[in-house]
């Protein structure tokens, strides 16, 4: 289990995310595969005109609907691999590999 993350919820599009940034654009996660160290926040930004979600297949995290222009942040706490997707767009799939804390 990767442990609970910190959900920042909806942030304004002008906020400066730190850590790893992932875009949701043209109904895809970009990049679709990332490797991060435990404790490094990951921020997803919805650059599309429709809502998306960031939902772990193993239930580790679930952003709920992320409206266009909004962001979602989650910080993994333990090493492991988690696959996630957008529940509204079945073709949007991605994976995160969490390494040891740097």
């Amino acid at each position: 289990m990767l442990g609970a993350g910190l959900a920042a919820g909806s942030m304004g599009a002008g906020a400066e995310p730190s850590g790893v940034a992932i875009k949701m654009t043209q109904e895809a996660f970009v990049p679709a595969q990332v490797t991060v160290g435990a404790g490094t926040p990951v921020t997803w930004t919805n650059n599309d005109s429709v809502p998306h979600s960031v939902t772990a297949l193993d239930g580790t995290f679930d952003s709920g609907p992320i409206l266009p222009g909004k962001t979602y942040r989650w910080t993994p706490e333990k090493p492991g691999t988690v696959a996630y997707h957008c529940i509204f767009h079945p073709s949007m799939k991605a994976q995160m590999v969490v390494g040891a804390k740097p």
Binding site: E27, V50, I87, H89, P90, S91
Partner: protein, 176 residues
């Protein structure tokens, strides 16, 4: 007679799904699997027709998304039923769905420009409404296998998002 005032052939076929709720025979898991694959395949083909016939960027974007998403659902559904050892079984409903779609798709292929965009999006709105209703009222209640049932439950938000996207695209089209 406007497109909106008549029962589209595909929508009529999809409405048959509701009759299952009242009929003595309910779809089994194998029939549900075939209905799911058929319904997804229909919208994939609808999207491919739109990518050929439409010149409107928002319609092309929607169609491309339908092709990608319904392909993904079909891939996941096929992988699941293969793993479960369920062989999709044709039924009167899946055959009627396909027959209705064949008629609708033949009509769409003959249209272009604004006429095409309007007909395509109107069909997508009707189609997604009907499929959502069928998933909720017929397929989920009758699915016996827990994983198949969960897959149907999990796909509902996507179909709802597709419906809302189609309605929004149609509304934007009608403004021009």
């Amino acid at each position: 007679m406007t497109t909106q005032s008549k029962m589209l052939p595909l929508a009529a076929a999809l409405a048959m799904l509701s009759s299952y709720a009242l009929a003595a025979d309910k779809p089994n898991d194998a029939q549900i699997a075939q209905i799911v694959v058929t319904a997804n395949s229909i919208d994939i083909e609808n999207g491919k027709i739109a990518l050929k016939n439409s010149r409107t960027p928002s319609v092309e974007e929607f169609a491309n998304l339908m092709v990608k998403d319904h392909t993904a659902v079909n891939n996941d559904a096929t992988a699941l039923v293969t793993r479960l050892g369920v062989k999709p079984e044709p039924s009167d409903t899946s055959k009627s769905l396909q027959s209705g779609a064949d008629t609708e798709q033949a009509k769409l292929r003959g249209l272009k420009g604004h006429d095409f965009d309007k007909a395509y999006l109107e069909n997508e709105v009707a189609y997604h409404k009907q499929v959502l209703g069928a998933i909720t009222d017929v397929l989920i209640p009758n699915a016996q296998n827990a994983e198949l049932k969960k897959m149907l439950v999990d796909v509902k938000p996507a179909f709802q998002a597709h419906l809302e996207h189609a309605e929004k695209s149609l509304a934007a089209l009608d403004k021009h």
